[in-house]
Amino acid sequence: MIIALAVSVITAVATELPPAIKAIGLILAIAWGADVVRTITHYGIGTGVPSIGMLALGMGMVGAFAGMSMSGFFPTGAGSYAGVLIGVALVAIGGLIYGLVTVKIIKMEIPVLIRGLAELCTAGALVVINASSMLAGTWHLDAVLGSVVASGWIAVIFILSAMGMLHPYNACLGPDERRGRTLTLSVEIGAILCIILGINLVFVDPVDGSLLILVSLIIWIASYVSFVKACMREAYETVGTGLIKTLG
């Protein structure tokens, strides 16, 4: 969790890094979110796992825009790099209040909920900031508004990163659920998001775009193969449909 936080914050702050490295921060943030979803929904929340992933991205995205708008306060200097950190801190505080509301007013009896919601909203905000800076080259709001929001890519980022957080535990849920297998699935979905972002980027910046596609394709193939192999190994019995038999 600490590693994921550190790496994704660094890739979010340093806008000059090539998108291929930001992709690693993005995938780690998604995996972090999936891990928190796994911890919280392990207790059973009654509304289904997807709701909490949507909550993370809903809150995280509005907070991420608030963080990006900090570029208005700090147009130059160190603030133009670190301003986004204020936004991330704000999201964490918002998530904390949200968790307190859920526990104190709604009376959800889940012990890790307060901390979990704060972490989840932070992960959601970091995903949106990282993905936006991959597409726009910076997280400054005026640039992001043009190339990410107005072009509609924000919807793709929203739903695919929500999917990366909520789907793994939803799919792997059960008595034999194993953390490593769940997180592998999350990494796989994160890599899919990066490939799609890369396909958009390759028309703007061929070198960075193709590098991003290459790196995320390698991550995707590696995580996909290891996920399918883990499923084949850990299942009591598998009946092949012929579709993915050759991989297993």
Binding site: I45, G46, T47, G48, P50, S51, I52, M54, L55, L57, G58, M59, M61, V62, G63, F65, A66, M68, S69, M70, S71, G72, F73, L90, G94, I97, Y98, V101, T102, I105, I106, K107, M108, L141, D142, L145, V149, A150, G152, I154, A155, F158
Partner: protein, 228 residues
């Protein structure tokens, strides 16, 4: 002044959303097997679907007029249409394909049409299909939810100077946070306003008030610091 109106729009939208979510007939996974009343999906998913259709109609009308009531009403109509078709489609499959009668599991007689439920209810199930009272409740819930989503959108466009795509996706985010809070309050399944769980509503209203205040602070921050 704009800031106050923005806060009022977002908080009022959040509270309308919360009441709307409490009126949606959703049965979750058991409804998919025909063993619970309502639509076979989660509260968050169906209300988000309804809100999105509402946002489409609201944003279209918003380009033509700046009348707040017209925008809110058009959002409500979009949501109501989506909910009505979803429930109708579900009922057609339940009745004509699965061959089961829509009954409620929580009350013995329909509070509106006075039709008996008890003789038609399969033993050991919690009702099935979407009966009249749940259908009406769902359409009313979509009306409130859709107008709430449209109100948030209107506030963001007119009082925070958001562009249409940014306002649309932010309204989605704010709607989702409120819908999830309400979904936690009812614990996943509810049949409509006749369900005993509907009495838990005040708790969700308090929570949604605070939840949408946080979102309103973020929205005003984007508007002020982003120089929109």
């Amino acid at each position: 002044m704009d800031l106050i109106v923005l806060f009022i729009c977002i908080v009022a939208g959040g509270i309308l959303t919360s009441i709307g979510v409490h009126m949606m007939p959703v049965g979750g996974a058991p409804a998919a097997m025909g063993t619970a009343t309502g639509i076979a999906t989660g509260v968050t998913m169906i209300s988000t679907g309804a809100a999105m259709t509402g946002l489409f109609t609201a944003s279209t009308v918003e380009t033509m007029t700046s009348n707040i009531w017209l925008v809110a009403l058009s959002g409500a109509v979009g949501s109501m249409l989506m909910m009505a078709f979803t429930m109708l489609g579900g009922n057609i499959i339940y009745i004509l394909a699965a061959g089961i009668v829509p009954v409620s599991g929580r009350v013995d007689v329909d509070p509106i049409t006075k039709r008996p439920f008890l003789p038609f209810k399969t033993p050991q199930t919690d009702g099935h299909g979407t009966p009249d009272v749940s259908y009406i409740s769902g359409v009313m819930g979509a009306f409130l939810g859709g107008s709430g989503g449209a109100l948030i959108y209107y506030g963001l466009v007119n009082y925070a100077d958001f562009s249409a795509p940014l306002a649309g996706i932010s309204a989605m985010g704010i709607f989702l946070t409120n819908a999830v809070l309400s979904a936690y309050n009812i614990g996943g399944t509810i049949e409509g306003f006749h369900d005993p769980k509907f009495k838990l509503l005040p708790r969700a209203l308090k929570a949604c008030f605070i939840g949408s205040l946080i979102c309103a602070v973020f929205a005003s921050l984007i508007s002020y610091a982003g120089g929109l």
